[in-house]
Symmetry: C2
Subunit: 606 residues, 2 copies
């Protein structure tokens, strides 16, 4: 099965608006912040000891992701000014790269004698992101200089790591180059890049150079050979980037053991270690997966990049097998735990995406118990470690990648985006108000004799196609033979808000429910309520009503709830007095856009 | 109103058994631990720099409380061996005290040049406990040497603090001497002791010597003059010891401003800052009160000594006004948050009394989030800071103090203990299985023409006296004219288990209920259940049944509940599948007597 690339897709509706914000707001804002902090200037290689703004080991990757996002946008919307910025960076790379092909700002400017000596210091990670950026830029513009520079660099990496084995380590401390090499193979057709990726993956957890110390090998997924992985452990972004490469390699090299490991770890994440928002990585200590069912709402780390990485991994799993649970998870992560990482205006970001903010409780824990969790309750325009802003930008810019895949007989429709897509003589047009509306109209031209497979989201009860229950449903896809050159179908998904519960082993969610509508997780913000969040409960009889929210630009929900009433007695006979009330909920991705406010996804229910 | 001293009371039943354990187990165990750690040996004053077992600044008080408990027991049960131990300590005090009267092991043996230089170092606290011990020993045995030694010491304190004002501070960093001086006044009739107590109390929060630094003055209640206190702040044991002295002084000197402060702070504690067990002091950081409604169950500090101190404070408030809420709080603290500090065998102790133990959650917070709360899940025989073991011993030894008070016209019955009490020609006999049984038979002899006032516990619905609703009830006391020399009454209290809820502002208790029966708070221990505690809920329809528990020696409760059932899906439609089940609850004071086990007072309810 192969993917339909986003550059065949013209987006409107929900994602079309996001592309507009990306171009008008997000890319310029991130560019400005990166300029102010010295990230672009660093490519001039003039930093000297004692100067301010010392280049950081991951700055190359920050700019690379920004370039990749900008390039993906350029593929859809020409923008000469944006292109000129990238050309300038590419020229600087050409100018300052080492004659051997090596390019890394920090390890050329700051510690030139330390090249490939420190496994944990992001050199290959930066190389991977630069490579992804170069591919995106070549694909968008046809300009190949950047790509050639990176191919030179990759050739040098091949020499150092696989011909000479002269680096101090065998595999990167932060995965990324593995999936970049697969992309490079896909783009160039050169199988050696695929082989390099496979070798990096196969050496992980095996090479004595890397695992000698023995401690902390789980942090960067080096504790065992990858084919033995069954649980998601360690730094969550690193983990899912590795799993992306593993899924790619499993498909492209028909490696069943690798595929089985991918399936096990996907199940472990999604059935044991994933927040309902698609966020992953429970703890800020090591930004990492912890253990099954440990999913605290208030101190949830759930880094934006990790949700993005999970969506990337899930998309790759979709290509291994047409099972809707993969696109279900990608959808959950995209619309909730990833999109929550960017403000509605597109100019501010969350690195960490908690599922609960209780400002008073947070203050109490800090003031009286010395528990400092570093909760950020307002989006920022830039972080010291600013991986997430350009990462959400490139996810949005390439969101069309998630839409379709195909093999000789079947075109798979994984998601419902307002869009028009043309490839290989096929034109697919979707008219939809998704994710806010459940009526999805799909016109397929040029598919006669083939099969359309429409994903029926796992959350949708009794989906209808042209008003009928679909007849041929396998693993969450409705298979429909196409009998004409031009057919139009309507997929009707019931968006009645639903109450969700977590497995009772999830300590933080006991006695609570979350409200979802279609793919969207909702949350309750203090700014919308008349009583403190802690005193509010959901009613099991929701009686939901949509309420357009002009300030947010997306539909809020009003549902039945109760307010518990404080009295003068600290302890009294159960039950507490309470009054029915309506609660206003908003999509989780829209939280923290109206000032600092308490927030809850999981709400007590009665 | 004045108290009937415990030495007029002969106890049987519940407290009689505790007195037996005190004599047979607790006092010998604590003696052995104190001997092993050098606390008794320290009275020989032979420690020199470099020796092991350096005396600690609070060791005098540990032994003093042990002596006080032993003396109180001697008043009820002769024990020549015990008396000999005390005599030996008294001889050592006489031998080693300074000719001026001063006695303190640490500041004589370790830092003789630092006498009365460091406000925070417990010198006056030790003096207070030694004085309380000396009074108790004189009262129990008629031997007055110890008392005279302490009177000499108090005279020296008077000279240093009030005649010369030559100490480096004006009031102690840890209150205690204030209430000891009131006791000394009560025992000797010498009003100068009362005046000394008043001066220590009045100088607190006023003396420039003490409050100069300005920081941390709230920790030891030195942030304002005592008559301006309206909230309980700072170290909880210090606070309630101060409030004890304030309540005594308010009564004995008819000081209405002091009384009003006592009433305000009593209300603040009991309506805003007290666990349902009567435990106080929410945070281990500073062992202190925090703020209104901050009552976390898992990290609850709730030091045993603080619950004891709250009971002492409440008893003193009962003497100011016949309002049953004072004895209600004393009862709650005694039977729950204080008694939980000692094991059922009487040989092991808790310093901290959490309302929830979740071993797995505790491990997760430690391993993955770096939150180390020092939760102790098993009782210990000794602590480095071992204030609680001898304190619970002296509370039990003098428990009869809580029973009765009287004025010219009325005898107040505050509690229901199986007992016989004789004072001033009156004999009061109680037959009762309290706290496990609600039928309380009271025989009063020698009270003709006076009034009996029986406390009707706040928790009791529709109490009956001789089968009738009492006619004359004021502030929780039923007033009954006594018309014969020998009358017998029966007070019937309904012990049907009740579900209690906390004010919705108590974050930790939201959505939960606690089960109480009579004065006892119950809890759920893992060892009694078939599923993890987190997956169990109470049913609002309890259908309670008593179940004698041979291992615990007290009645357990079986109540209706539900068990939530784990499945393979992390998130699913609400509600979760669940199965009805019976939950077994035990009195809170009996928790942690059968090995390490999860425990909950506040349980989710449906």
């Amino acid at each position: 099965m192969q993917n339909v690339s986003f550059d065949h897709v013209t987006l409107g509706g929900f994602w079309g608006q996001w592309l507009e914000k990306l171009q008008a707001v997000t890319l310029p804002t991130v560019y400005d912040r990166f300029s102010e902090t010295g990230r672009f200037e660093a490519f001039e290689f003039h930093w000297k000891a004692g100067d301010p703004k010392q280049p950081h080991i991951f700055w190359d990757s920050d700019v690379a992701k920004w370039i990749e996002a900008a390039a993906d946008l350029l593929a859809q919307r020409p923008d000469p000014a944006l292109e000129a910025v990238i050309d300038r960076v590419v020229d600087l790379i050409e100018l300052h790269r080492d004659p051997c092909g090596y390019f890394n700002i920090y390890f050329t400017v700051c510690e030139p004698d330390q090249r490939f000596q420190r496994r944990t210091d992001h050199e290959l990670y930066c190389a991977g992101h630069l490579t992804e950026a170069a591919i995106a830029y070549a694909a968008a513009t046809g300009k190949t200089k950047f790509l050639r520079l990176m191919q030179d660099y990759i050739a040098y990496i091949d020499k150092v790591f696989f011909q000479e084995d002269s680096a101090a380590f065998s595999t990167p401390g932060h995965e990324e180059i593995e999936l970049a090499l697969v992309k490079l193979y896909n783009f160039t057709g050169d199988a050696h890049y695929l082989e390099m990726s496979r070798r990096f993956v196969d050496l992980r957890g095996v090479s004595p150079k890397d695992i000698a110390g023995g401690h902390n090998n789980d942090y960067d997924q080096s504790d065992r050979p990858v084919r033995e992985i069954s649980e998601a452990i360690g730094h969550s972004v690193r983990a899912v980037y590795l799993y992306c490469a593993m899924a790619d390699l499993a498909r492209l090299t028909a490696d069943d053991a690798l595929r089985a490991a991918c399936e096990r770890v996907f199940d472990n994440i999604t059935q044991r270690r994933m927040f309902i928002t698609g966020g992953i990585g429970s703890s800020s200590r090591g930004e990492r997966f912890t253990e099954d069912f440990d999913l605290p709402n208030d101190v949830a780390y759930a880094e934006t990049c990790a949700a993005i990485g999970l969506a990337f991994f899930a998309r790759r799993m979709s290509l291994l097998e047409a099972d809707s649970r993969y696109a279900d998870v990608a959808e959950t992560a995209i619309y909730n735990g990833a999109l929550s990482g960017i403000s509605l205006r597109g100019n501010a970001f969350f690195y960490v995406n908690p599922l609960e903010i209780d400002l008073n409780q947070h203050r109490i824990e800090k003031d009286w118990y010395g528990r400092e969790d570093g909760l950020l309750t307002q989006r920022l325009e830039v972080f010291g470690c600013s991986c997430c802003p350009p990462n959400i930008a490139r996810m949005i810019a390439s969101i069309g990648d998630f839409l379709y895949s195909y093999d000789e007989r079947t075109v798979f429709v994984h998601h419902y985006f307002e869009s028009k897509t043309a490839f290989d003589g096929v034109t697919l047009t979707q008219k939809t108000g998704y994710p806010f509306d459940g009526e999805n109209c799909l016109r397929a031209q040029g598919l006669r004799g083939k099969t359309l497979a429409l994903r029926l989201p796992g959350w949708a009860q009794a989906p209808r196609i042209n008003g009928q229950a679909p007849a041929d449903v396998r693993k969450g896809y409705a298979y429909l033979p196409v009998e004409a050159d031009d057919v139009t179908l309507t997929l009707s998904l019931d968006l009645t808000p639903r109450l969700m519960a977590a497995d009772p082993r999830v300590h933080a969610d006991q006695g609570k429910a979350a409200v979802c509508r279609g793919p969207l997780v909702y949350c309750m913000e203090q700014v919308d309520q008349t009583a403190p969040l802690g005193q509010l409960l959901l009613s099991a009889d929701l009686q939901p009503a949509l309420a357009q929210d002009a300030a947010l630009g997306c539909p809020a929900l009003e549902v039945n709830g109760f307010r518990e009433l404080p009295e003068d007695t600290l302890y009294r006979r159960y039950p507490l007095d309470r009054a029915p009330c309506r609660l206003r909920l908003i999509p989780y991705f829209a939280f923290a856009n109206r000032g600092e406010s308490d927030m809850k996804v999981w709400i007590r229910i009665s």
